[in-house]
């Protein structure tokens, strides 16, 4: 289809006088001038024309970068409360203070005696002192106090931030909440949770869905019908309720303590539980693709010209299934993010001091009263969430249009 456009008109009229040899040579030359456009190039070309999708893509990339680099940005602390002066501050540009350098210096002078002892100590005393020092680092270090349990990478980025921006930080452009915490910082840190949940849970659903669907489609016959029956039955289960049920049980004191001991926190459970519900549609889609591709003529054709199974799988099946999977992925991420927000909103998802967008919206709604409406507490997190979902939806639609061969040339 696409090749015909670049096909040259025959330069001269072929005549019957031409010998076979010449003719084949000419055909060969003609064929080599026709450049096939690969599925991906073709899709990219289509996508580029769809400015909504490209705009969404740009927005999402910007958002992902912001969220990724959040610790290195000169934001205020997302968990530092100030009940005396900064409750419910509307959006403003007043300079804010974090005194990071001073805090760091104070902490350093606090632990200096310990360090000096450490230098001279030895044996059992040494290990004891080391333990003490790391305990103080884990509790008293400003990074630990101003940010909730930053991981190693975040700590490095925070150090970078101090080096880059020093004490300066962005004013409360989005206002502050009922505990005087900076909204902008909370939105950025909440974005980390929301986006990571979205991506990880989607990947979990991808792994389950693709392997299940591909297996069913590949095996076919009885196994296929049995596996799809199971999916049908699962479709009729209102999973949200089961999930909430499950989360409640897993949140039970004893179980939670047990899980915490094994380093599994609520968010990790989240990834898997959400991923475990969203694989159903993915498995159906992939199975459908695999089955239709199995019987597709070009696969037959590849087989008849002697292509190996490996080649068929890698050159034909995977690229073709990939399109559908990618489209479905971009549409699953917003669904998953929405679900996370939904659960957090109900108080069943991410729990404080972790933040996510859903949680922020819920916090905002909780403090709405007839008397005073702290609009910025609902508007900004709500808008961020909606904008992200909006962009993901547009990108997903754009990708579907670009990748779906059925929609081609429309």
């Amino acid at each position: 289809m696409t090749a015909s456009q670049s096909q040259p008109q025959p330069a001269s009229n072929p005549t019957a006088a031409e010998s076979d040899e010449q003719r084949y040579e000419r055909l060969l030359a003609e064929a080599s001038t026709i450049r096939g456009v690969s599925l991906w190039q073709d899709a990219w070309r289509r996508l580029r024309r769809n400015w909504m999708a490209i705009g969404s893509l740009a927005l999402l990339i910007a958002m992902a970068l912001t969220v990724l680099l959040t610790p290195a940005l000169p934001l205020q602390s997302p968990i530092l409360t100030d009940l005396d002066h900064r409750q419910f501050e509307p959006p403003n540009t007043r300079p804010a203070r974090l005194d990071l350098r001073q805090r760091l210096a104070e902490f350093e002078s606090d632990v200096r005696p310990l360090r000096e002892q450490l230098r001279t100590a030895s044996g059992a005393e040494l290990t004891e002192l080391r333990k003490q020092l790391s305990a103080r680092y884990a509790v008293e270090h400003p990074f630990q106090k101003l940010w909730h349990k930053p991981d190693w990478l975040s700590r490095q980025l925070l150090t970078l931030r101090v080096a880059l921006f020093g004490d300066w930080c962005i004013p409360s452009l989005c206002g502050t909440d009922q505990l005087g915490r900076d909204m902008l910082a909370r939105i950025c840190w909440g974005g980390r949770v929301s986006l990571v949940v979205g991506i990880v849970a989607t990947l979990v659903s991808l792994v389950i869905g693709v392997s299940y669907g591909a297996t069913a489609g590949y095996l076919g016959g009885l196994a296929d019908s049995l596996m799809m029956r199971i999916v049908d039955v699962l479709y009729s289960v209102p999973f949200i309720f089961v999930v909430i049920f499950l989360i409640t049980i897993l949140g039970q004191g004893d179980i939670k303590a047990w899980l915490d001991r094994h380093g599994i926190n609520q968010i990790t459970i989240f990834y898997f539980v959400i991923g475990a519900i969203y694989w159903l549609t993915m498995s159906r889609v992939v199975r459908g693709q695999v089955i239709s591709l199995k019987n597709e003529q070009f696969v037959e054709a590849a087989r008849t010209i002697g292509a190996s199974s490996r080649r068929i799988i890698f050159r034909h099946l995977i690229p073709n299934v990939m399109g559908v999977v990618i489209v479905y992925l971009t549409l699953t991420i917003p669904a998953v993010m929405m679900f996370e927000a939904f659960l957090s909103f109900l108080g069943l998802g991410v729990s404080p001091p972790d933040v996510s967008w859903g949680l922020l919206v819920n916090d905002g709604i909780q403090v709405i009263t007839r008397v005073r409406i702290y609009w910025w507490l609902v508007l900004f997190p709500g808008l961020t969430l909606a904008l992200t979902l909006f962009a993901l939806n547009f990108l997903g639609d754009g990708l579907r249009d670009a990748l779906d061969p059925k929609m081609k040339n429309r």
Binding site: I244, T248, I365, F390
Partner: protein, 310 residues
């Protein structure tokens, strides 16, 4: 006859599904460590006695399971674990009408608004209507319903004062929650209808209909609409599931005394009997709706046979 076979088969699958959900819930409940229920600290004495009488904790697990299943089969979900003097049945009976009317209203709104917008957008393609409807639809799909609901509470109740804030009973009180609940589904249905309509309008048989001298109105409504709503019909199953889910949030925001509120309460309070009863009722609802959708599909598309749907 095929209808009877179809319904019987579906009934069988439904019982199987309910049994799976039931069993999973039952053992999840029992897997809470430190004994089934006595890990909880402050259970009022009468409830504890009720529960112990009911669950026969002295018996082996499998017997408990069997007896409990037997009771559940008789639609007796037992006493509530948290609310004194209430059985789960009573709570469900109270909450069901609220949730059902909210759901039905929402589904109706979603269908009427979505399909109208979709048809108009497709027929007047590239017009102002098309663009604005589709922008609205995408907005509806992308904005989480709790954000929408909260903002509309602020706007319509607090700022404009048009509608009563919360509570249950009058028609006014159901409109706003139902609309907020319907919004994402209306948006999705609008987009499905539009795509379906555009596809159908390109079909040969639409050209035939015009060639017969029919008016555009008749062509669209009689010849094109049926084919265009097929994707909408298949979406009704997932939509129902979504509306059930969404009602959890909406009931909470608008303080509606529906099953959703009870369920969330039950989940937060660890009222396992109530939670289990609600899950079973929701499963039943969803399954019934899916069956109805499949039946509807056969009615709309004569090429689809009931036997294939079973």
């Amino acid at each position: 006859m095929p209808l009877l076979v179809f319904l019987l088969k579906r009934l069988g699958w439904m019982l199987l599904t309910l049994w799976v959900v039931y069993t999973v819930s039952f053992f999840l409940m029992r897997s809470v460590p430190g004994g089934p229920f006595d890990s909880e600290k402050q259970i009022p004495e009468p409830i504890r006695r009720n529960i112990e009488a009911r669950y026969r904790f002295d018996r082996p697990l499998i017997e408990q399971y069997g007896r409990h299943l037997w009771d559940t089969l008789h639609l007796d979900f037992g006493p509530s674990y948290k609310l004194e003097d209430y059985t789960v049945n009573e709570i469900l009976a109270e909450g069901f009408p609220v949730s059902a009317s909210l759901g039905i209203f929402a589904l109706t709104f979603a269908l009427t608004l979505g399909m109208t917008a979709g048809v108009v957008s497709a027929v007047r393609r590239q017009s102002v209507f098309d663009f604005s409807f589709m922008a609205l639809a995408t907005l509806g799909v992308a904005v989480p319903n709790f954000v929408l609901a909260s903002l509309s509470v602020v706007l319509f109740v607090f700022v404009l004062g048009w509608l009563p804030a919360a509570g249950w009973g009058s028609l006014q009180q159901i409109v706003l929650p139902a609309l907020c609940l319907a919004a994402p589904f209306a948006g999705y249905i609008a987009r499905l209808t539009r795509t379906g309509m555009l596809e159908v309008l390109n079909q040969d048989y639409i050209r035939t209909a015009y060639a017969k001298g029919l008016s555009q109105r008749r062509v669209v409504l009689r010849h094109a609409l049926r084919g265009a709503v097929l994707p909408v019909v298949s979406y009704l199953g997932p939509a129902t599931a979504g509306i059930l889910t969404g009602s959890l949030v909406l009931e909470r925001i608008f303080f509606l005394p529906g099953m959703g509120s009870h369920f969330i309460e039950a989940a937060l309070q660890r009222d396992y009997t109530l939670a289990m009863g609600t899950v079973l009722v929701y499963t039943l609802l969803l399954f019934t709706m899916n069956t109805l959708v499949d039946l509807a599909y056969c009615i709309v598309d004569p090429r689809v046979r009931l036997e294939q749907q079973a």
